[in-house]
């Protein structure tokens, strides 16, 4: 090494580090060469009929889809979010991709699943098969549009728990699905909900019977694999009286230049004394450093706390997606019901996130907590948007909201748009928000003790998000922590 090089050693080293990170940035960016059956691009009534036919659906579901589609046609794409949503060409998307089509009737056993597909899940580190037994998690993996494999079904059915793909549920438990589907998020709820109701292809269905504590954590893994397909999955969770379930959801997509659309619906029904915990780690492809590509994540999630003393908790770690537009909400209908929303949203490069929650208090003595942590870096925009509404009958309702934003870099933005509509004088509603950058003193303290700035930022951010990450189940918490540091690598220095 020449003297000159030696003098600049520090810089190339740093560049090397940055380059390395830039290369490994999105770990899940691989496509799987699986035989996939994709129907023609475009959206019309014929396509919907075709999807319905392929899935062998009853007539009421077809009508449900068509009604949603006709309503969707009358609507325009909403623009109120603090994001730059591109014009989406809905005719350029294929609405159905089935990686399991080789075996005509769908997989009957593990052996029948395409080995390539199994490898995909191996790469993702989803604990299918033996690893399941160790981790004690039941997984329903959804790739593109079709539910590939649901594990642990037998063990769950002993307890009377139904955990299967929604198309299976339509066949085997039509009454349950008919009763609850669209009862929390009606097809006419919003533009994207209408689209999903019209073309949803698969998703998970969970039913926990009365007085049952689900013995393991249920989990879904979503992955968009095929090119030019949108993923429209639908999750329906019904937790009957006195029961408990914890549900995990993870998402990834391979690297693609063009935007991929993801418009999902999650509906949760919580009965008397029941409790549901819903955790999400969202790591869709966020686009590259110049903001090209990435997933458009436009999701409607809502829980209906119908019963007295019911409880619902949303925990989300959002690190991916070019655009995130989602508001996991709670309707606190039952008296004494409790709702919680914990969120960490990280945006880097050109990512945009507009996320938050809605807490609609209708029952007496209902309580809700909102903890939202936003972290923006690069040229990203990160917004919290939340509504707390206390209805006229909601005596003694209580809400506490806290939204903090952390800014890393001078070109990003952090915004807070809280709405509070109070129609009852016995309610107590508190909201507080702060925005600041990383504390220089803390950084200096770490530097002093030989911790590099990048590492120190990782430590501080993890400490900052701890309040939320602590709410995640063990396996997810580890993954979330890793994701946080990966998403923020290269933002300092």
């Amino acid at each position: 090494m020449s003297e000159q090089e030696n003098g600049q050693q520090n810089k190339p080293e740093k560049n090397e580090l940055v380059r390395r990170i830039a290369e490994k940035k999105y770990e899940f960016g691989f496509t799987t060469d699986v035989h996939t059956e994709i129907i023609e691009k475009g959206l019309n009534e014929e396509v919907i009929r075709l999807i319905s036919k392929k899935k062998d659906e009853p007539d009421w579901l077809l009508q449900f889809r068509l009604e949603a589609y006709r309503y969707w046609l009358t609507q325009v794409q909403p623009t109120w979010g603090h994001v730059h949503l591109p014009e989406i060409d809905y005719q350029a998307i294929s609405y159905y991709a089935d990686p399991t089509a080789k075996s005509k009737k769908g997989p009957q056993s593990v052996e029948e699943i395409d080995p390539e597909l199994m490898k995909t899940f191996d790469k993702l580190g989803i604990p299918l098969e033996e690893r399941l037994a160790l981790s004690g998690t039941a997984v329903d993996a959804v790739m593109d549009s079709v539910s590939v494999k649901t594990t642990f079904k037998e063990k769950l059915s002993e307890k009377g728990i139904i955990f299967c793909s929604i198309s299976e549920a339509v066949k085997n438990y039509p009454d349950l699905v008919k009763q609850y589907l669209g009862s929390v998020v009606p097809p006419k709820d919003n533009y994207f909900a209408a689209l999903n109701s019209a073309v949803f292809s698969d998703g998970s269905f969970v039913y926990i019977p009365k007085n049952t504590r689900c013995p393991m954590e249920l989990s879904t893994y979503f992955r968009i694999n095929a090119r030019n397909t949108g993923q429209f999955e639908r999750t329906l969770i019904v937790c009957d009286e006195g029961s408990y379930v914890s549900y995990l959801e993870g998402c990834t997509a391979p690297m693609r230049d063009e935007n991929q659309l993801h418009a999902a619906i999650v509906e949760i029904v919580v009965m008397d004394h029941a409790e549901v915990k819903y955790s999400t780690v969202q790591n869709w492809y966020p686009g590259d450093a110049e903001g090209r590509g990435g997933v458009l994540n436009l999701v409607t999630k809502r829980g209906d706390l119908r019963g007295v003393n019911s409880k619902l908790s949303w925990t989300q770690v959002e690190t991916g997606s070019a655009i995130t537009w989602k508001y996991p909400s709670c309707v606190l209908r039952g008296d004494n019901s409790q709702a919680e929303f914990y969120s960490v949203a990280v945006t880097n490069h050109y990512q945009e996130a507009d996320t938050g929650t809605k807490m609609i208090h209708l029952g007496k003595n209902t309580r809700s907590t909102i903890i939202s942590k936003g972290i923006s870096a690069g040229k990203s925009q990160n917004s919290y948007r939340g509504l707390v509404r206390i209805g006229k009958q909601a005596d003694g309702a209580r809400n506490y909201s806290s939204c903090d934003s952390l800014l890393l870099g001078s070109q990003c933005g952090a915004h807070t748009f809280p709405y509070m509509d109070i129609h009852n004088n016995s309610a107590t509603v508190e909201h507080e928000a702060t925005t600041s950058k990383i504390n220089e003193d803390q950084l200096f303290y770490c530097n002093q003790r030989g911790i590099s700035t990048e590492e120190a930022v990782g430590l501080i951010v993890n400490g900052y998000a701890k309040e939320v990450i602590n709410k995640l189940p063990m396996e997810f918490a580890v993954e979330a922590q890793k994701l946080l540091s990966v998403s923020l690598e290269g933002t300092v220095g």
């Binding site: 206390i390 006229k392 934003s405 800014l407 890393l408 870099g409 001078s410 070109q411 990003c412 933005g413 952090a414 915004h415 807070t416 748009f417 809280p418 709405y419 509070m420 509509d421 109070i422 129609h423 009852n424 004088n425 016995s426 309610a427 107590t428 509603v429 508190e430 909201h431 507080e432 928000a433 702060t434 925005t435 600041s436 950058k437």
Partner: protein, 405 residues
């Protein structure tokens, strides 16, 4: 969305009359403002900044429009805009948001304006008081306009009172534009004591230069329907703005305050405190946005909104917002809606204070925090008394303006 029609027709009929009564500076922007209004119409509830007030309904009734001339008592600093000592065209309708429908309507219809001019380095000891009296035998609409120019280093206190003397329906639009040049200081008070028959739409626009310090206090003691908008543009470094608001509602009163503070340059400070006490069937709304532009580093901003709902029919909407594009900032906001502290009530009742009295004491103490901020001593003392009277239900008409005595 139909009530704008009558105003469009009205303008087309009387435009020449207004122009003849007015002056060149005001006429210069009139037609353009009118076409803006014609294009926008009244904002519907879908317009974010007007979502809590039904503007269309407020402007729907048939009002006679008053074009009575402005009377200005001869004094230093205060002028009819026609007799302005300086050229006001660089200021008039230049700070205001020209794309706001209410401002546009006001600009189109207003025939006379008040101009307050404080010369360079002039310290004005006594407050400048602007009294508005709403008088009339029939339902009347009034359009008012005030322009305040503070030259470098000027220092003044301005109090704008809004009274209603007759039991009539009145509709007012008011636009206040404030230009503070470097190092100026201004305390601006707006006090409204009208009747439940009055509707008021008031837009205040404040522009600050370097090292300025402005305090704006918006006090709504008694009203019908009130919609106040306050936009602040911090355009010079080290500028400081304090926005304080006090709103007391009862009956079916409606109070909507909408503020926006734009930090356009580094090192500015903003403080905002709005408090509401809503009783009976009143509706309160507060929306405040702090906007920090990309290069406005070292911004310090604090926004607080606290509300007390004193009856089960009262409603409160609150929306404290932050929109931040710079990273080296310290911004916080807090908002609460709650009930009176039961333990404090219990404590007082234990000591023989009747419940209604205890409640009044608590409301008074709650609002005291805003009144404490008022710097002009005589006004502060007067407001302590008035706020207390208001909570006791004794202040149901404006009581101390000359006309009512």
């Amino acid at each position: 969305m139909t009530s704008e029609l009558q105003y469009i027709e009205l303008y087309q009929e009387v435009a020449d009359l207004i122009k003849s009564k007015s002056c060149d500076v005001m006429n210069a922007v009139r037609d353009e403002a009118f076409s803006t209004f014609q294009r926008l119409g009244f904002p519907s509830k879908k317009v974010e900044r007007y979502k809590y007030t039904n503007v269309d309904a407020a402007f729907a009734p048939n009002y006679g429009v008053s074009f009575s001339p402005l009377t200005v008592k001869p004094s230093a600093y205060i002028y009819n805009i026609k007799n302005a000592p300086i050229d006001v065209s660089p200021y008039y309708h230049k700070i205001a948001d020209t794309q706001d429908a209410i401002t546009a309507l006001n600009t189109a219809l207003v025939h006379d304006a008040l101009f307050i001019h404080i010369p360079k380095n002039q310290q004005v000891e006594d407050p400048i008081v602007v009294d508005h009296w709403l008088r009339g035998d029939a339902a009347t609409m009034m359009n008012r306009r005030i322009l305040i120019v503070m030259e470098e280093g000027a220092d003044a206190t301005v109090i704008i009172n809004d009274h209603s003397a007759d039991r009539q329906r009145f509709l007012t639009t008011q636009v206040v534009e404030v230009v503070c040049k470097d190092n100026a200081r201004l305390d601006l008070y707006e006090i409204e004591e009208t009747t439940p028959l009055c509707s008021r739409f008031c837009n205040v626009y404040i522009q600050e230069g370097r090292d300025c310090s402005v305090k704006h206090n918006s006090i709504t003691l008694f009203n019908g329907l009130t919609r106040n908008l306050c936009d602040v543009y911090l355009r010079g470094e080290n500028a400081e703005i304090t926005l304080n608001g006090c709103a007391i509602g009862s009956g079916s009163q409606h109070i909507d305050n909408n503020t926006l503070i734009r930090h356009e340059v580094p090192n500015c400070t903003s403080n905002e405190l709005y408090k509401y006490v809503m009783d009976e069937k009143s509706v309160g709304a507060f929306a405040g946005k702090i906007f920090v532009e990309k290069d406005a580093q070292k911004t310090v901003s604090q926004e607080t909104n606290a509300n007390l709902c004193a009856s089960s029919d009262a409603r409160m909407y609150t929306q404290p917002m932050l929109e931040i594009y710079a990273d080296d900032v310290k911004c916080a906001h807090g908002s609460t809606v709650g009930v009176m502290d039961e333990t404090a009530l219990f404590y007082m009742r234990q000591r023989g204070i009747p419940e209604t009295e205890a409640r009044t004491l608590l409301k008074n103490a709650f609002m005291g925090q805003v009144i404490d901020q008022i710097k002009y001593e005589p006004l502060r003392q007067k407001l302590y008394v008035k706020v207390e009277k208001r909570f006791r239900g004794e202040l149901d008409k404006c009581e101390d303006c000359r006309l009512c005595k």
